[in-house]
Amino acid sequence: MTPLTQTADVAIPELKPMQQRLLVAGAAGGVLSLVGALLDTTQFLQSYLMAYMFWLGVTLGCLALGMIHQLSGGAWGVLIRRPIGAASRALPLLTLLFLPIALGLSRIYPWMNADLVAHDEVLQHKHVYLNAPFFLARAAIYFIVWNVISFFLNAWSLEQDRTGDFRFARRMQLLSGGGLVAYGVTITFASFDWMMSLEPHWFSTIYGVIIMGGQGLSALAFLTIALVWLSRRAPLDRIVVPAHFHDLGNLMLAFVMLWAYFSFSQYLIIWSGNLPAEIAWYLHRMETGWRPVAVALMLFHFAAPFVVLLSRTVKRQPELLVKVAAAVLVVRIVDLWWLIGPEFHTGGIAISWMDVVLPLTIGALWLVVFVSQLRGRAILPIHDPEFDEALGRIIERGAPPRTAH
């Protein structure tokens, strides 16, 4: 019987070959992407921004869910704590991967175009905020904030594992309180900078919140898939029960509704006001060839997952729930494609092979880091204050007790 204190590396031998395969896939995708970058740099950067925002969303969503769990407690977060930690430790990689965007600013952001700005009074006023040095300085601040939060949470979590000292739990709670506020502020500005400024005339204050809701949903869908995968292997196979999946399914349902609520709020306000400066953004996305994508998002980003996730049966059966989670990840990418794409292809839907290759490539590299980080620690946070609550009933029923203490 595998004791729970073993590192995942020892407990789950499949992880190592998996990491190697992912690295090969990432390298192959990297070569393909490089070819794409040389063939059509602008299309490359557009697809890259979409893929980057998606994987950044999974990472930051995991970080934020981890912080929420530190504050709220509850059994739902204990089994996914280690995947959450491993995902948040992919932040240094994402910091590095921001480089192509930083180098390609002038190709994707209209406010970088000096000619355009010279003839546009609004952009001249916005130049105080939307200029390259300030843009990069802000990006640096976001990355510092995210990396620092992630670094300390992970370091303290490791210390807690080693010592079993509950003082670390207290420290993680304190940092999470401030960390969530910092996350809210930074992701709002980051989404303004990196995505909203693609259409520099347009503004919406709820935009950052829509992105945040999407990140939470992406993270939950990813964590659901990770937990299903882990639950089919020792040691989690004797620990995970349908109730654990039920919790994740319910949270996914909540985030689906949250995303719909934020997105619709933005639409309703802009639609009611009907002001030229504000509706342009929607006209580009709904009165052009992009309209079917908008309709598909209403159906498959909200209606379908909402109805499916109402079912108790679906939420308690990992084989079904994992399919819903995978579909959610796909519509998350479609949502980002719809938010970014119309700025580059105003006429109508345009999909490039890079829109498929880049999310997969960054995904493979991201997963290499995720798996390698997962391998280094025990698969369960034995000394988490909520640990007994999350697993209590199984231990009571005669499953082997934890080997720690």
């Binding site: 619709f264 639409y267 309703l268 639609w271 009611s272 009907n274 109402l310 009933r393 009571e396």
Partner: protein, 179 residues
């Protein structure tokens, strides 16, 4: 000779939650279906132990939600398009985005009301009299004792045989519940 009072069921008393869960499981496996368990605090496993009987409440709430959704939209449509059409900001009378908030609120309202009323209808509350209180020790169910009651309406119920079965579950004591 006095006529014996009619029997509501038999009640076994336990010291800890694990025993009452185990007992409920055994009784369910034995074939008893009209079971109820009483404890000072909620025990999640108990419902499952007694067969995890699914109620019709989710269905009632779903129907309530659909009625609220359709009703809310219909109300908006009828007032805005049929009964009292107003030109608001030059928008069409049938402006669906504006109808969504009311539709949403009505969905939640009717679903929540059906949940509360459906729950009361299904569990029969409020109930001023219940036979289990005829057992004097039952008062301890709100303190530190756990009870499992096999009701007499169960087809397998037999005063003697059921009592003997309950004795095998090592309870503190088994009492007959008068109706």
């Amino acid at each position: 000779m006095k006529t014996p009072p009619t029997v509501y069921g038999l009640m076994a008393e336990f010291d800890d939650p694990a025993s009452v869960v185990a007992a409920a499981e055994r009784a369910h496996r034995e074939g008893y279906r009209c079971l109820d368990a009483y404890s000072p605090f909620p025990i999640e496993e108990l419902t499952e132990a007694m067969g995890g009987e699914h109620t019709r409440l989710p269905l009632i709430v779903l129907i309530g939600g659909i009625v609220g959704c359709v009703g809310g939209y219909a109300l908006e449509y009828w007032t805005q398009v049929v009964a009292y059409p107003l030109n608001i900001g030059g928008k069409p009378f049938h402006s669906w985005p504006a109808f969504i908030p009311v539709t949403f609120e009505c969905t939640i309202l009717v679903a929540a009301l059906s949940a509360v009323l459906g729950m009361l209808a299904l569990n029969g509350l409020p109930q001023p009299y219940h036979p289990v209180f005829n057992v004097p020790r039952f008062a301890l169910a709100s303190r530190n004792r756990f009870f499992l009651c096999v009701e007499a309406r169960d087809p397998l119920f037999d005063l003697e045989r059921t009592r003997r079965f309950l004795e095998t579950l090592s309870p503190r004591e088994v009492s007959t519940v008068a109706d």
